[in-house]
Amino acid sequence: MAAVASPVVSWWALVPLVTFAAAGFLLLTMASLVRRPPAVLAPAWTVAAGVAVLGYTVPMWSRVGSDGASSFLAGAVGVDASSVFVTGILAVAVIAAALIAHDYLPREDLPGVEFYVLLLLSAAGGVVMASANDLIVLFLGLEVLSIAVYVLAAMHLRRIESQEAALKYFLLGAFSSAFLLYGIALVYGATGSTNMATISAYLARTVLIDDAMLLAGLALLLVGLGFKVAVVPFHAWTPDVYQGAPTPVVAWMAAGVKAAGFAALMRVFVLTFGTHVSDWRPAFQVIAAATVLVGAVVAVVQTDVKRMLAYSSIVHAGFILVGLQAATDRGNSSVLTYLAVYALLTVGSFAVVTVVGGTGDSSHGLDSYRGLGRRRPLLAGAFAVLLLGQAGIPFTGGFVVKLGVLVAAVDMGSYWLAGAAMLAAAIAAFVYLRVLVAMYLQEAATGSEPAGAVPAGALVVIVVSAATVLLAGLLPGPLLDIARDAVPVLVVG
């Protein structure tokens, strides 16, 4: 009997993926076996899984640091510093989303366990995306991530907005996945492989006589991934979905999905198709400029805070793209730092939105924030820090990461893009100011609910994220050092 050649598996590198997936399945099993699990079980379980993964990234990091990047499973999955870094971001997002949801779900009277299961599975998909070494694996990871989120978006059964958001997200997501897939097919046709390392090596040593198929594939890949990270003109779903989906889900979408999406974008374009940077960079630059400007401009006329944050997330995506288009080590590490700080800013912000949104997840208008500075000073203060961070005010992490992407862009000579980004930042500042005005400079609307205690889970998220954002602004050194070492590499398996 012929021995089946089994591929090499670096199990140590699969621990995060396995942890998330297994935690998800075990939770599902447990929930179906136990009739009435204690309410705290599922979130605690999820947080534990997140903490475990987050903790595990430390030894993983040092191992990658000492052994270097590697790939396994027949080169389909790779592990490098950047994938560890993104895994860490995903773990933080999972923890935060679970903490927020812990208060949210009972308040909204929603089934508890499914949320956490889907969250964990989605995170597993994200981990796959961040460490995919093969375009098909990337597609798989993306779908695992996305399908779970489609369901999560629809979780709020009684809100038609939630279902509408889910449907929109689902239809458009599937639509863009098709583009991605077709793009993969074309790239496969042009290079003869779906393995990124192989493609990269192939392109480095071969000059294609006819590269139309490859370039068409690149275009479609960009469509698919651009949708996930919400850049213009593939962004239009974001505000609707952010507004409609349950807020803890939005926190995960904004922090986790975006991080995984950008990690994938970086692996595909900067690493795999780095040889064709002169072809795709102009497209990236135009998209980046359009993204920051459209996001900022349209945000100006919004009155729903969740929607504002959605548009602001579009601006952020544009900013990250500004760093990414540099296609340099400096650019890559700036993208990673941006993702990390952005994840903190966004989970903290949506935690606040969850609290203020109140029962029914509907009080998201600016009016709900009026006088918050007096009614709930701590909450408002933390939100102010987070908003100022999003605006990129100095001495917040937001500034440090904006500086990072600008440095990368200017280093490449992309002056006009950097300028456009800063102009957009100035416009976007108006949006954050509007919230600040409502919180501090306006009196509470009559009949607004009295100050209540901020739920513990959300409180932890808000305080930790605000504090970390401030800390990152004052002492950005460690974060920048880590990100500098986290540059992604592709290793042929």
């Binding site: 098909i136 597609f139 798989l140 779908e143 399908i147 489609y150 369901v151 629809a154 059964l157 038609i160 907005e161 279902q163 509408e164 958001a165 889910a166 449907l167 929109k168 689902f170 239809l171 599937a174 639509f175 996945s177 098709a178 583009f179 897939l181 077709y182 993969i184 097919a185 074309l186 496969y188 046709g189 003869g192 492989s193 779906t194 505000p239 609707d240 979905v241 507004q243 409609g244 919004q302 929607r307």
Partner: protein, 101 residues
């Protein structure tokens, strides 16, 4: 007439375009979803033909993954659509625009 790989690729591209255009013009969520399936299958067709052209198994293998993914999407998609239809029978996607602006 020899049916070369090029014809298959062209067919794939045509199907993909039809699916895309279909999604843009139809209003029934189910039909729109079927258009997406059409696009995915166009991609599958392209994979298979290219795999044959390149004499590489990878192309064929990819199709299996895609099929699984498509199946999963169907499950989720149908569930969402049904949930909505139950609340608003006969709704088209154009009716679902509470959110916007």
């Amino acid at each position: 007439m020899v049916v070369t790989t090029g014809w298959y690729l062209a067919l794939g591209a045509a199907l993909f375009s039809m699916g895309a255009v279909g999604l843009l013009v139809r209003r029934n969520p189910l039909v729109m979803f079927m258009c997406v399936e059409l696009m995915l299958n166009a991609a599958n067709l392209t994979f298979v033909s290219l795999g044959a052209e390149l004499a590489d198994l990878g192309g064929q293998l990819s199709v299996f993954f895609v099929l699984v993914v498509a199946a999963a999407e169907v499950v989720v998609g149908l569930a969402v659509i049904v949930a909505i239809m139950r609340r608003r029978p006969g709704a088209t996607v154009d009716d679902l625009s509470v959110l916007g602006g």
